[in-house]
């Protein structure tokens, strides 16, 4: 079992962890009957100025892997059904370009406005980081977990966490910041042209 973090907490990641699995999970439609809930995980590779270097640094369901292979999205889940991680990002630290200072991990609700959905209708949301033994290890051994359940209500976009360089190491920051305006608003703030 890993460490449970609370909002705002920062921890160092083990230097010897070469590949990490960032798993995001959630439950929706507590009492069913509503429209499908489609949550999307994304990653933004950010330079020292807090912006993407180029649009391709935005990893999401429409661009599953960064050109350098450092961050990979394993695929879109349209319903959030089932236990465990709903969407997974894989980070290969050795491949992260030197001018990427920070990787922001976000979750947004697809088509939230039209469907009248927000994070108050989502339960058991979390992010976890697990050490991967090899490329195919999609369970990993859990290093840390951050539960987001009580932080949000009417937001449609979350910056869940940031993984950032600190000297030669990587650290994890449990950001837990909510925004309205969905993925588009996040893209704008990270400098992606949409």
């Amino acid at each position: 079992m890993g460490v449970n973090l609370s909002k705002g907490q920062r921890v160092s990641l083990d230097k010897n962890m070469s590949m990490a699995l960032v798993g995001l999970g959630w439950d929706t439609n507590k009492y069913d009957g509503g429209a499908d809930f489609d949550l999307d995980a994304s990653a933004f590779l950010l330079g020292a100025n807090g912006k993407v270097r180029k649009d391709a640094d935005f990893i999401f369901y429409g661009n599953l892997e960064s050109s350098d292979g450092s961050v990979r999205h394993t695929g879109d889940n349209l319903t959030g059904e089932g236990d465990g991680d709903d969407e997974v990002l894989v980070i290969n630290f050795s491949k992260v370009p030197a001018d990427v200072q920070k990787i922001a991990i976000t979750v947004t609700i697809y088509d939230a406005q039209v469907r009248g959905q927000n994070f108050g209708q989502v339960s058991n949301a979390y992010v976890r980081v697990a050490r991967m033994a090899n490329e195919g290890d999609m369970t990993g051994s859990e290093v840390l977990k951050f539960d987001l359940v009580e932080e949000f209500s009417i937001e449609t976009a979350l910056v869940v966490c940031e993984i950032y360089r600190n000297g030669n190491d990587w650290k994890f920051n449990a950001v837990g910041a909510g925004y309205q305006g969905g993925l588009e608003a996040l893209c704008r703030s990270f400098g992606v042209n949409v």
């Binding site: 439609n29 507590k30 009492y31 069913d32 009957g33 509503g34 009248g116 959905q117 927000n118 994070f119 108050g120 209708q121 009580e150 949000f152 209500s153 009417i154």
Partner: protein, 196 residues
């Protein structure tokens, strides 16, 4: 100041001076849509909505006695009291009210779910599409001050029951979550099964 909630919104409930709430009144209201009827149409039948409260332990209903409804007006802890059944929804303001003594509710109850279902919806062919101005509001029962209100705004045609919202313990205080999720359950018993 009372807060108007959106679907999904969560608020922490406190007294207006910031102190802990002791007792709350949960008011639920609805109006019937005026139907245009043909000359030989069947006689109009009142829509009888029933509000109920599910007192949950670890988020689930542990026992049938934890359902407070028109057939069991008072919870065994005496902390939840249904003020009585309204058969027509006529008139302004709350149609049904449920009093909750948060301070005396045993600690193992961590959530109270407030639901409304249409009595005999299937037999009477009634649904929430025939209802308008439905709301749930939470008042401080000691001052009668309204703390928050959630007006249902979606179209709930063909839905016969509604999970309005839930009061739950969080870090030693109480929060309210505006749920607004409709179901097609035909009775409070069917609705309760979802929480068992």
């Amino acid at each position: 100041m009372s807060v108007n909630l959106q679907k999904g919104q969560k608020v922490e409930l406190k007294k207006s001076n910031g102190g802990a709430l002791r007792r709350v009144m949960v008011g639920l209201g609805w109006d019937e849509v005026q139907q245009s009827r043909g000359f030989f149409a069947p006689k109009p039948q009142d829509i009888d909505c029933d509000a109920s409260a599910f007192a949950c332990i670890n988020g689930r209903l542990a026992d049938v006695s934890d359902v407070v409804y028109f057939g069991n007006l008072q919870h065994k802890s005496n902390a939840i009291k249904h003020m009585g059944d309204n058969l027509t929804g006529a008139g302004e303001g709350d149609d049904e009210q449920i009093m909750v003594d948060l301070a005396s509710l045993p600690m193992n109850y961590d959530k109270i779910v407030f639901v409304v279902n249409i009595y005999q919806a299937m037999q009477r062919k009634q649904h929430f599409g025939l209802i308008r101005n439905a709301f749930i509001r939470i008042c401080d029962a000691e001052t009668n001050q309204e703390l928050c209100k959630y007006n249902l705004s979606e179209n709930y045609t063909n839905m016969t029951a509604m999970v309005f919202g839930e009061l739950y313990r969080y870090n030693g205080s109480w929060k309210f979550n505006a749920i607004g999720q409709a179901t097609q359950d035909n009775s409070v018993g069917d609705l309760a099964k979802r929480f068992a």
